[in-house]
Amino acid sequence: MKKITFLVLGLIIVIIILVFVFSSFYILDQTQTAVVLRFGQIVKINEQAGLSFKTPFVDNVEKFEKRVMIYDISPVRVITADKKTIVVDTYSLWKISDPKLFIETMRTVNMALSRIDDVVYSHARDIIAKYDFEEILSKKRFEILDSILEKTKADLKIFGIDVVDVRIKRNDLPEENRNSVYNRMNSERYSIATQIRAEGEGQAQQIKAEADKQVKIILSDAERESKIIKGTADASSIKIYADAFSESPEFFELRKLTEIYQNSFKDSILVIPQDSDILKYFKEVK
């Protein structure tokens, strides 16, 4: 029984010692900074990772992220200098640069985020309002981002926050404006399409007209050539006939006239007077 008592006692002592040891030390991760508070007052900022000592039961340790954090800021509507509403979706990279200041002014990360929200939004709104929409889409964008970053940085420094970067993730037209853009895009495209078709038709006409012209040239060239050939032949034939017939115009005339007699009276009514030479023997027989 005595042994059990010793055992129990020993166990209690060990537990007390362990609790004491555990509450005198704390482990600080490489990614964190510790703020040691004594009755709510900051007594020490510890950035050295590893095992550290604190006064047990009296000191309270709060740990904060030391790394750069990403904060995706919710999209906001802002108005540009040319009175267009755009939706700007930003994100920022930030870190706690001064844990003492941070804990004094912000207390929690959530508080800090809502503050970042407010500051980025107000600067984004003010700065974007100085530019036209077209400029926001141009290289001026970098200028805009730089000045938002610079102002945000300056504003948040007093809270122990270092804003590493502010970037625009999206800058879009709000839903209701998109349709008008789509309409414009549609009409633009249809007009391009019409132009392309007209060009096609034009070029096709040109090719066809050129072909028709070639056809005419080819055919009329041939026609001319053929007329020359025929004409030359006609001329030669006239000469051949003339050469031959001029050897005896009298015989030519005879042949031609008799030919007419032979061929021209076919199926006609022929009236022969009684006193014609062809009937000179007619009466003698009678």
């Binding site: 490489q30 990772a49 096609g200 006409q205 066809k208 072909a211 006239l257 199926d267």
Partner: protein, 328 residues
């Protein structure tokens, strides 16, 4: 307690079970301690996969990097480890998500981007990256993976807003991917993220659904144009060779005509000369014969022959009757 001590002076009988009992508790405690220590030691055993490394921390502070294999570190809470994959290429999808079934779903808010000429297009991309410096990766940025996505989205939009819609859809498409990956890398290096961007691939770059029809119409118009030109070309290829054929035909005909004409003329001329030669030999009789032959043919070939009294009596003939009464 005193009671026990009194009894303790006595011997054996109570002693034995008591000893046994204390031995039992001791052993249980011992076993518990062994199990506890064992479990504690087991928290120090870990395995690192072939593409991974483990960052070992001693009381939270980074101590060393452990390569792949089975390894051991001091038990919790003295040492701990964090496993980071440094060789696998990981990917992030922008503008769409591949679902577990393998099909993909569009994320319109991400994919819709506005171009420098104030048009909207839909762009889907995949970023591939790898952790090249696990220490930087673990200790510099919280959730550095998210940064890859945000940064790529931001830079992609920036690039698109500096280009025109036609450029993005056609010639600048590849350039945008390359530029984006370069600029994102610069940003990530600036933040010392320990991440290397392997690639930014632009997947589908298309006009938004609401304007697809009109964009398609432009493509159709291009096809139509090609077709019209081809048809015209076809027409041209059809009519010109035919015309050339026709031209040849006309020419050959003319040549044929010319040959025939001259041949006929020459034939006629020779015939004339031949006959003339004979004619000259007996002029009078031949002349008469020719004339009479002609008259004979003439009379023979006439349909109606009339012998009139004199040249003036012809008027008395009833021509109407002769021709069947319809010539008047």
């Amino acid at each position: 307690m005193a009671d026990y001590e009194v009894f303790n002076a006595d011997q054996k009988d109570p002693e034995t079970p008591k000893k046994k009992k204390s031995f039992g508790i001791k052993s249980i405690v011992l076993i518990l301690i062994i199990v506890f220590v064992g479990i504690l030691l087991l928290t120090g055993v870990y395995q690192v996969g072939p593409s991974e490394v483990a960052l070992v921390r001693t009381f939270g502070q980074y101590s060393y990097t452990q390569g792949s294999g089975i390894a051991f570190h001091l038990p919790y809470p003295i040492q701990s480890h964090e496993i980071i994959d440094i060789r696998s290429i990981q990917k992030i999808e922008i503008g769409f998500r591949t679902t577990s079934t393998g099909s993909s779903r569009d994320v319109v808010d991400e994919s819709n981007m506005i171009t420098g000429d104030e048009n909207i297009l839909s762009l889907e991309a995949v970023v591939q990256y790898r952790i090249i410096d696990p220490v930087k990766y673990a200790f510099n940025i919280l959730n550095a993976k998210d940064l890859v996505k945000l940064s790529t989205e931001s830079v992609l939009r920036e690039r698109v807003s500096l280009s025109t819609i036609d450029d993005v859809l056609t010639s600048k498409r590849d350039v945008i991917g390359i530029e984006t990956s370069k600029i994102v890398q610069e940003n990530l290096d600036k933040y010392e993220s320990g991440i290397k961007i392997e690639n930014v691939y632009l997947q589908d770059v298309t006009p938004p659904k609401d304007v697809v029809a009109s964009f398609d119409d432009v493509n159709n118009a291009k096809q139509d144009k090609e077709k019209m030109i081809n048809d015209a070309q076809k027409y041209s290829n059809d009519v010109i060779p035919k015309a050339k054929g026709n031209a040849e035909k006309v020419l050959r005909e003319a040549e044929g005509y010319a040959y025939e004409k001259i041949a006929l003329a020459e034939g006629d001329a020779e015939q004339f000369r031949a006959v003339l030669k004979e004619y000259n030999l007996s002029k009078d009789i031949t002349k008469k014969r020719i004339i009479l032959d002609a008259i004979k043919d003439m009379i023979e070939s006439a349909k109606i022959k009339v012998v009139s009294d004199s040249g003036n009596t012809l008027k008395l003939l009833n021509l109407d009757e002769m021709f069947g009464g319809d010539s008047k």
